[in-house]
């Protein structure tokens, strides 16, 4: 619920180590610190396998840091964090439930009655432009429409933090631009803090207030940039041609390129033992 309890995310000196099947210790991220203010849109960019998803998992409470602390709203995360919603690259929709029932699931998990949950789900489907599709099943929708359903499902619980793990990664360029605009529109209305993972730098600069650049594995924070493009930003397709956008984009790319090249050299050098960097 979006109450007075604010959604400030403080990540302080977080290190995460995994035990690989062969028994070695693998450091996924090392000494990561950054802060996301309530209502701020923060994008995290970095090469594949640098630990972006791992970081999200620890903010949501699905996983625990090996060292350091993650605080949300001033409280150390322990167990599933309250007031968080997730959006993944693959939309987490249940194939045997209708669109309406899928969106209503969030409130039902939170304890709302079925009638109330469905009324709210109907309202949210209308807001994402899917009125009239309530009784369809996910496999009867296009990729973009399924994204809209996933967005409604993520926002219906009015989260104070919205976590998005490459949500538009699998979409074609046009659909991605449309969905980005939709997301900005919906975000302006309720203003949750957003932690948005992407490997598309343009997308990060166009959407975010703040861009965190991570190094290749083991992931650390390389640099943090404030994006001072005015809001509302309007269409993400057009903002790409503004001089200030290009300036920021070049500046961040100079930092990021080195990391991407290093990560690329590593994958091109032969198969690594940890192939699960999805």
């Amino acid at each position: 619920m979006a109450d007075a309890n604010n959604g400030r995310i403080e990540i302080e000196g977080v290190t995460k180590r995994f035990l690989t099947p062969s028994g070695d210790v693998f450091t996924a991220i090392k000494d990561v610190s950054f802060t996301v203010e309530p209502g701020q849109f923060c994008a995290v960019v970095g090469p594949t396998g640098c630990g972006k998803s791992t970081t999200l998992g620890m903010v949501s409470g699905l996983d625990k840091p090996s060292e350091g602390t993650v605080k949300v709203g001033g409280k150390v995360v322990d167990g599933i964090t309250d007031g968080v919603s997730f959006m993944f690259q693959a939309d987490a929709l249940l194939p045997w439930k209708t669109v309406l029932a899928n969106v209503a699931l969030g409130p039902i998990f939170k304890g709302a009655s079925k009638a109330e949950a469905q009324a709210r789900a109907r309202d949210w489907l209308r807001r994402v432009g899917l009125a009239g599709f309530e009784d369809r099943y996910p496999h009867q929708l296009s990729g973009g429409m399924r994204k809209r359903v996933a967005m409604a499902a993520a926002l219906i619980n009015e989260p104070k933090i919205l976590m998005m793990d490459e949500p538009f990664g699998a979409l074609d360029v046009q659909t991605k631009a449309i969905m980005s605009n939709e997301l900005l529109g919906l975000w302006e209305q309720s203003r949750p803090a957003v932690l948005f993972i992407t490997h598309d730098l343009d997308e990060a600069v166009a959407l975010a207030d703040k861009v965190v650049v991570m190094t290749s594995s083991p992931g650390t924070v390389k640099a943090v940039y404030d994006i001072d493009l005015p809001r509302p930003r309007g269409s993400v397709q057009e903002i790409r041609f503004e001089p200030r956008f290009l300036e920021l984009q070049h500046q961040i790319w100079d930092t990021l390129r080195e990391e991407v090249e290093r990560a690329y050299a590593r994958t091109a050098g032969g198969p690594t033992e940890e192939g699960k960097a999805a």
């Binding site: 045997w96 939170k110 976590m163």
Partner: protein, 317 residues
């Protein structure tokens, strides 16, 4: 026989692997011919069984079942005899044993599925210290032969366990009830059930489960609303094999009920019948057919669940 049925379920519970290759191989003309031959070889004796069970006693005694096509006399008297009269001079028919068989098989199928799917979810999706060890122990227990555990288990149920004068486990006094058979079948099924369902449930999409967790669903809620529906094909496959195994089981049923009419399952009675009426084919075939019909009905009513995988078409793009 037992090991054969149980092995077979390993393949059915993991859908999607190598299916196209198999499908291509099965559509060649030689394969079609082979399947036809197997079908005929399998069907002819079953047809003979059915026809014999429907012929009057004198016909069966004098001619083979194929003679039926020349002299088609049909009667249901054999079924009436075997179900209610038990044949010649025997008071009880198969009917009470049929009821026992159903009362044993349904719970002995449901219990292990419920317990094993919960265990599988916990072992696959809730990280805790020692979960790998527990899973390994489950896996290893599959090698314990049923025959070895049977008698100690029976002694435990009827006499309890004692060290010196101290009772560690009380005698349960469940003689004459279904409970010992349910418990025994459940225990013997658990290792394989946990193993199979764990492998299936561990491969469900992480996003679906984590999204529900982050939305505030408890583990039980995730299990019920997300995991169980997704695991339906695996549950149905296991249910069929467990049902058939328990339905056809003679050893466990006979050991734990002593063959008494108030709790013994049908195979123990069929074994008695074939001893006393070995030459009355019409009675035996009718009894056999009664015991075949119910598993067939179960198979056909459950098959659509594992043929049409629920995940099909869910995660694309």
């Amino acid at each position: 026989m037992a090991t054969l049925t149980r092995r077979a379920s390993t393949d059915t519970a993991t859908p999607g692997t190598g299916r196209t290759g198999v499908r291509r191989a099965l559509s060649s003309p030689f394969a079609t011919l082979g399947v036809l031959i197997v079908t005929v070889v399998w069907t002819v004796p079953s047809l003979g069984l059915l026809i014999t069970s429907l012929r009057p006693q004198q016909d069966v005694a004098q001619t083979g079942w194929w003679d039926f096509f020349a002299h088609p006399h049909v009667t249901l008297a054999n079924y009436h005899d075997v179900l209610f009269n038990g044949g010649f001079g025997v008071s009880d028919g198969l009917m009470p044993y049929l009821v026992n068989s159903i009362a044993i098989t349904v719970p002995a199928t449901v219990f292990p599925i419920v317990l094993a799917s919960m265990a599988a979810y916990v072992l696959a999706w809730i990280p805790f210290k020692g979960s790998d060890t527990i899973f390994f122990v489950f896996f290893a227990l599959q090698v314990v032969p049923l025959q070895m555990a049977l008698v100690p288990l029976l002694q435990l149920f009827s006499g309890g366990a004692h060290i010196g004068g101290a009772t560690i486990f009380p005698a349960l006094g469940m003689g004459g009830t279904y409970a010992p058979v349910w418990i025994a079948h459940t225990m013997f099924a658990m290792p394989l059930a946990v193993f199979l369902l764990h492998n299936f449930i561990a491969q469900l999409p992480r996003d679906l489960i984590e999204a529900a967790r982050v939305d505030g669903a408890s583990h039980f809620r995730v299990f019920r609303s997300v995991v169980l529906p997704l695991a339906t094909p695996a549950l149905a496959s296991f249910a069929i094999f467990q049902f058939l195994w328990v339905w056809n089981d003679l050893l466990v049923g006979l050991t734990f009920t002593g063959g008494a009419p108030e709790s013994a399952p049908m195979p123990s009675r069929l074994a008695q019948l074939s001893g006393s009426f070995g030459d009355h084919w019409e009675i035996l075939t009718a009894g056999a057919f009664v015991s075949v019909v119910i598993p067939l009905a179960v198979f056909f009513s459950l098959q659509r669940y594992f043929v049409r995988g629920l995940l099909a078409g869910s995660v694309k793009g």
